[in-house]
Amino acid sequence: MKKMNNRGFVLAETLVVSVFLLIIFGMIFNNFFPLLGEYQKRETFDDVEAKYSIYWIKRMIEDNSYTVNATDRSNFNNKGYAIFDCDRINDSAKRVMCDSMVGMLEVNNAAHCRSDNSGSLCNIYITKYRIGGNSAYKFKDTVKADTNYTVFNSGFQEYVRTLPDYVSGSLNYSRYRVLAEFHHTYPSGENDYYSYATIEVNR
């Protein structure tokens, strides 16, 4: 009678294949799962609602009635940004409209978008069109340097980090840019999330 196959190899084969498969899937897992988290984070960056909201803020800044003062210029030149303030609008009716708009658009700290001396800041920032890549365009560096999150929240810092420097310049010859953080809490108790947007300002 012929002898049966006497090469005992199944266990070793299976072990080799299993280890190989585990390594491959481990590599895929490590590269793929962080992308899911990144995608979820970026869902609130420049979404449609935030883009329309920042558009209305841009219209208010571009309006002739919006002016800046010496403090704004000083902050702009030293830190790379000036804070938006409804009180900078010379027209009283437009000032009231501004106050209402920032509230309805759910700008973060909207209550402080009018000078209230509380020390808290409205989360709308006017910067140069280009925001990084050079010491003359320091907004990104300023945000990055705020490691204790005293001025900029972690979410906003993450948003700015993902933005390009806008080195090539605006096709509309815009010299400024506005960035905003929105905190969505309406209906009260049902929503609590942030969104972010930026748009150029042509004035």
Binding site: N6, T14, N64, V68, R73, S100, M101
Partner: protein
């Protein structure tokens, strides 16, 4: 010449291999199942977001490109669980737009109860928006088209149905002092809550002037 290993395959080896392959297969199946559930959830989310973005864009385009000169809101109901919100807008070119949100809401204990909800009706929601026919002939609302809500199915509640995607909260109004219009229409889904609702604000009858004669002057 030395003989090669001549031990045969033992049953223990076979069982061990089978167990190893089973563990790997079950783990992979669990991962793929969770991804499938995630895929279905993302598809639902994508449909809601697409719907929200489409309606937001159509309304905001009118408010931004043409501009609002007036806006009035009327609410009828609730009557038999139905409330109808009508927003009439006049744009700067004289044309009119109308938004009609109709909501018939079945009252259940599983979701937010709103005024006017009743357990005796089926859920029914409708959003219509468009240009008002001002020619004087034909139906005024012939161009006020329906934006059909995505249908993700129903849940039975004692013989009446409530929809998984519902309009639980509507807040449309013009602030008299600031003359700002707000349109809030919730698109409530049990998995996402109010996260992907429609929220639009627009100034009414303001003239933004940017004639480039003055610069911002920050630098």
């Amino acid at each position: 010449m030395k003989k090669l290993n001549n031990k045969g395959i033992t049953i223990i080896e076979v069982i061990f291999c089978f167990v190893m392959i089973s563990i790997i297969t079950v783990s992979l199946y669990a991962i793929i199942s969770s991804f499938n559930a995630k895929r279905i959830q993302e598809k639902v989310k994508e449909e809601i977001i697409t719907y929200r973005n489409m309606l937001t864009k159509d309304m905001e385009d009118d408010f931004i490109k043409t501009g609002l000169t007036s806006a009035t809101v009327s609410v009828s109901g609730p009557s038999n669980g139905t409330t109808v919100y009508t927003l009439n807008c006049t744009l700067k070119d004289g044309s009119k737009r109308r938004l009609i949100v109709s909501r018939t809401l079945n009252d259940t204990t599983d979701r937010a109860v709103v005024a006017g909800a009743t357990a005796n009706v089926n859920d029914s929601f409708s959003i219509r928006y468009g240009k008002v026919n001002q020619t004087g002939s034909g139906d005024e609302n012939k161009d006020v088209v329906e934006y059909p809500l995505p249908d993700f199915g129903n849940v039975d509640n004692n013989g009446k149905t409530w929809k998984l995607l519902s309009i639980n909260k509507v807040d449309i109004g013009v602030d008299d002092t600031s003359r700002v219009l707000r349109v809030y229409i919730s698109l409530y889904h049990p998995e996402f809550g109010y996260r992907y609702s429609i929220n639009i604000a627009s100034p009414v009858n303001y003239n933004f002037i940017n004639d480039k004669t003055t610069t911002l002057g920050l630098y």
